[in-house]
Amino acid sequence: MKRHAVKTKYKVLASCCLMFASVAQAEIKFNGFGSVRGTYVDTDSIQRPFANLPEDGELSFKDESIFGLQAKADLGDGLSATIQFTADGTEDFDVEARWAYISYKFDNHYQVSVGKFANPIFYQSEYEIVGYAHNFGRLPKSVYFGFDFNTVEGISLDTNHRVHGYNISTKWLYGNWDGDITVASTGVDESIGLDDIFLGRLEVSKDWWKVFAGGFVGEFTDGSLNEFFRSLIVPGSQVALENGATPEQVEQLATLVEYQGKDAEYWYAGYDIDYNNFLSSFEYAKYDVDNTLLTEIRAWYLSVGYRFSDYVVLFRREQQQHITNYSQTESIQHPILNAVARGFHDVFAKNTIDGIGVSLRYDFHPSAALKFDYFEGEDKTHVDGKYSIASFGLDFVF
């Protein structure tokens, strides 16, 4: 309900922006993008390897398909209003105003934006859903796992300078996010928020190479996700209470499993090379929620490839590891509660992504590309086993 209200709010804001632009006889530019992709998953495990992908043995033309339309109204004197609508297959192609913001360009070097826009969690997050903008069939899942807080409401500053032939750009952002996170094991959306998001990004590039680094911090708010995590330790807590644990000790454990009031930190760094048709990119990411039993996550991917005229072939190796660290459980004195805490931590620590993939892109049309992607990985989440994901589809822009 709350999410629906937020969507409606942005639809109204978007309409107002465009009406205002229309009244002022501003120039409005429309751009669009889309991906239509069939995805097939084959896995030894009892669950799909990633959320938003089809079940084992099923070919889906919905899970990785999306359409987007962006309208930008130039209001003159550096002021512009932008709205981006998307229809995502995972949301039954319901149209949503994903972005709605107003920008003011002070000069060629500084631009401020206010409203709802992308949260660049990692380097390519801002255009993650624009398939045509990158050569992968799917951005490496190890890093681009599909976080729900990929948009933010706030204010951002983009800077752009050219020094001795080097292009230096930065992004600074402050904002909040309020929404739902889908719990993989239940498939149910649970509410949560992120307040006081502070984000920074630095990118330095010249001719054929680019290096980048960035990160953000934010504080998780209350929401049903906290209650969900608390519910997971109820059976163990009951047993502990029956065996001498105090309510205070149970509450101490409950505080460690919830997100509320905890600081989240996300960091990344990497490079991108496109030299004489030789392509390589690397990104390393690390993220954590402080003072919880959740695991710290370290993820990376490395890709190498070559462009043969209208064809691009990319090979990639990627890995996401959950780091086991029992330091947070040491303060839990009661042996049963301590075992519950360690078990909770271990469940998250088992999640891993480890595999190799290949992407083939064929630019068969001035505005469209055919893409094939195959990924083979190992799933240690539930039952050790291998899985593979094959997808074929078309990405376009206009």
Partner: protein, 137 residues
Amino acid sequence: MFTFLRLTTVIGLMLLSFGSQALSVIVHPSNTAVLTKSDIADIFLGKKLEFENGETIKPVSLGEENEVTLNFVDSVLNKTPAQLKSYWARLIFTGQGEPPVAVDSEQQLLEMVASDPNAIGFVSGKSPGGVKVVAEF
């Protein structure tokens, strides 16, 4: 043998001259900017936004499927058309840039550059009148 080598060289040069059309990068006659190939590429990729005098550069292009544009994209930007489109998609859909204004004909482009001290464009052929050529490829 010598005649054969001379003949193949001449044929090779003829093929080269047919294969790549001469290209002139032009600015307003009053513009004193000295631009390298790298500078020109950065201007048309939205990375270099100002001339040395601080004036905002206004790059003007021809349509993306125009032969002159294709030649420019290949020989100056060192990109394929799809690579360039992908590059602009990243900037457009993150609100960080817009591709150069595109006009329908070389005549229109020449008129725009001839009338705007901050405009820069590219046309086929060498030394067109009314504008200043800053680079030839």
